[in-house]
């Protein structure tokens, strides 16, 4: 498909050149945008959503852009080669979409100062041609917590974590805080799958949690397996990264949808126009980078509460991490009315009260 597209673009450019008969300047080469995914684009979660972003770039920029992607690239020695291959193959901007690509991205960026690199969810920008971007998924997690506490009869939700990195811990905490705003005794059980994408392991984790008595399932892993297990066992669940309603029409309450498209379009355009600059962006509901899937399978009053919470966060009237908040062991962390700053959140390595798990260390 891509070769065909290039061919078409070339034909078009040639035709244009002929028509203009040398009077006008030849059309610019298309900007080449390249994407590296940690999972398969068919995961219907994280990588799938990034790929949706790629498709949006193709759609909006048309012939001005050429795209390429690599899926299921393992974090580690292979990532560096994959990124370097892209850099050498004429990519103008490369999006590396997993935390584990952080060091390889910076290593390759040092060798190719003219190529722009965009690393998702990382914090290292060692060279001027590396930008980082991430989304405030925890805003959606807070809303999910609110819904979970209203919908759960057991008062316990299950949470499938990937790796105990700050990003994930922050999500668990936001979920618990949302739930406790409704039911102060609400508990969350956590199982670490230690993978971003492994339908088998994720399904096992979901089953183990359900056997421990949770009646709401949420996940920070990328496959639809937990949703499907929840549907089989007749409990409710939240989708992750993409709208997973097809996998649980009677199960999904809502989903946090990562909408990378607008950002990708903006950044590729910036490269094209020569206005690209290094940034570190962390946007959420307000900017439309985090979108909530329709609130389904819940009574109207719960839905109304969810919508109200979403609006409060979107408008900036409320921040999920607003004190008073205690750490898991009961020691105070945030005083009444105080709001956690971004730096603290991005390095978060402790649970708040109400998480029924020991953070691995």
């Amino acid at each position: 498909m891509r070769t065909k597209k290039t061919f078409l673009a070339l034909t078009a450019a040639a035709a244009l050149g002929l028509a203009a008969a040398g009077a006008a300047e030849a059309q610019d080469d298309p900007t080449k945008a390249c994407f590296i995914y940690v999972g398969p684009i068919g995961d219907f979660g994280w990588s799938y959503q990034h790929h949706q972003g790629l498709l949006q770039v193709e759609e909006e920029l048309g012939d001005a852009v050429e795209t390429a992607y690599l899926e299921s690239v393992p974090e580690g020695a292979d990532a560096e080669r994959a990124i370097e291959r892209f850099a050498r193959s004429g990519c103008d901007i490369i999006f590396t979409t997993s935390f584990g690509y952080m060091d390889p991205t910076n290593k390759v960026a040092a060798k190719f100062p003219d190529v722009k690199f965009e690393h998702a969810t990382g914090y290292k920008r060692e060279h001027p041609n590396v930008a980082t971007y991430n989304s405030r998924f925890h805003e959606g997690r807070y809303i999910q917590g609110v819904i979970a506490a209203r919908m759960s009869e057991a008062g316990v939700a299950g949470y499938i974590g990937s790796f105990p990195i700050p990003e994930v811990v922050m999500g668990i905490n936001a979920f618990v805080l949302g739930a406790q705003s409704v039911n102060p005794d609400f508990k969350v059980k956590v199982v670490w799958a230690n993978t971003w994408f492994d339908p088998g392991k994720e399904a096992d984790a979901a089953k183990a949690l359900i056997d421990q008595g949770v009646d709401i399932m949420t996940q920070h892993t990328d496959s639809t397996a937990p949703m499907q297990v929840a549907a089989e066992r007749g409990i409710k669940a939240f989708g992750q990264a993409s709208d997973m309603i097809e996998f649980g029409p009677e199960t999904q309450l809502t989903a946090i949808v990562d909408d990378w498209g607008p950002y990708y379009v903006e950044r590729v355009k910036a490269v094209r126009e020569g206005t690209w600059e290094q940034i570190d962006i962390w946007a959420g509901l307000a900017e439309g980078h985090v979108v909530m899937a329709p609130y389904t399978n819940m009574p109207d009053d719960v839905k109304a509460l969810a919508e109200e919470t979403e609006e409060k966060i979107r408008s900036g009237a409320f921040n999920p991490f607003t004190g008073p908040i205690n750490k898991q062991d009961g020691t105070p962390w945030l005083a009444e009315g105080k709001v956690a700053d971004d730096g603290t959140l991005l390095g978060m390595n402790f649970y708040v009260e109400g998480v029924d798990d020991q953070l691995p260390n």
């Binding site: 891509r2 690599l70 020695a77 291959r85 811990v169 230690n194 390095g347």
Partner: protein
Amino acid sequence: MRVELVKRPQQSALFSALSPFIALLLTLLAGAVMFLFLGKNPADALYYFFIEPLLETWSLHELAVKAAPLILIGVGLSICYLSNNWNIGAEGQFIIGAIAGSILPVAFPGFQSPIVLPLMLLMGIVGGAAYAGIPAWLKARFGTNEILTSLMLVYVAQLFLDWLVRGPWRNPEGFNFPETRNFHAYAVLPEIWPASGRAHWGFVFAILAALVLWFVLSRTLKGFEVKLIGQSPRAGRFAGFSRSRMIIFAFLVSGALAGLAGISEVSGAIGQLRPAISPGYGFTAIIVAFLGRLNPLGIIAAGLVLALSYLGGEAAQISIGVSDKVARAFQGMLLFFVLACDTLIHYRIRISRRVVAAKPIKAPAGHA
């Protein structure tokens, strides 16, 4: 009607030598059919898969990075397989070598000196050899099945590494991500020719190891002993060679080379320990060893071919958009055709039209 395999009284020397090439050719043909079914132009696809990665210097470097562990492990395995010792656990020996070699930079990051790297390589070799020594000793002492013990020790090694990088060896500045600290400058295996790509000295070790083992196997008494015991343990005993000492020798050599491959990979290509440091090199090296006819020089070529299949998979994914699973399919087909060709060299097919009702159908004895 039934199909039988009948052992040939004599094997064709010509076809024995040609067999890997026939297998390669059949793999290419089957690959072309596969691409056709995927709706891609087979000529384009094969070009991107097998030719394009060879056209650029940096890509050749990547080929060397990928081939180094395959060759190192493969030549070690050839000693084992020639002497009739079925070491399936090279993946585990690779991992333990990597762990043992990483003790200095991870647990003692303050110890920085030019001596660190040689010590790391040595510890990697010793670690891999010691780990291979377990199934060897069990076989020599108790006659346990080394296929099972060596294979199961792979899982032990993988879980041990997993535990280390999530627990005691986790990078204190790594935001809880399961990986160790990055190796300091003295602990990094240098690149051979940094200006043009990132191939590291592991590839040189691989070529040296292959040359040394080729010499040992073809020109020394030890090599004769390896092959004699492998082909006929009885004749070996009459010649005064000890079977148990050969078991230990073969496993130690093979484990040492797998361990060297492990520490070279970690120190040269990755720069830290992670939960998964090998995409199955220890198992792919089994294909490499057989594709190379258990001859160290052949194994160099076979290692490069298999490495190419990894790179080609990536290149084909970028250029024509086929799935990354195609590389795996190629490797599977290659092994299948290698074994099929070998089988047909040793056996011929007999189709008997007579229906034999009373006789139970016996599976043909496999040739491994």
